[in-house]
Symmetry: C2
Subunit: 84 residues, 2 copies
Amino acid sequence: MKFQAEIDIMPRTEILDPQGKAVKLGLGNLGINNVNDIRVGKHIVMNLEAENLEEAKQKTETACKKLLANMIVEEYTYKINLEI
Amino acid sequence: MKFQAEIDIMPRTEILDPQGKAVKLGLGNLGINNVNDIRVGKHIVMNLEAENLEEAKQKTETACKKLLANMIVEEYTYKINLEI
């Protein structure tokens, strides 16, 4: 079966996000004000094959924990769609 | 009014994604096989204030076009939630 995992990896909220601060500054220079907070992370789209949804979840979890996310400073969320 | 924009900025599909290729290789080394394709982009969460949803959309569009996305090689999608 074919699945598509959409993964978001964001800096943990308690962690300072210098990239977010830089983007906020840049938006201010463009005249886009009233922006309170910006956080910048990674969006990963992974097309994979698995026996079932459970296996697709397991593969996605392992990929996030072992490679895609730095679990000390980042957190991940994902959703998995069945590809028809 | 307070809004939260969730923005995904991805490499255009016709553009080669070396980062995606590198991640796919890494997953293979971890024994995670049957991964057909991986694309890596940015996920940006922006908390902003605006008079109404329309203005929030406009600010988000301008932020994407002028700063967050390189429109030649990237495409963006976003969703905006009203923060209660």
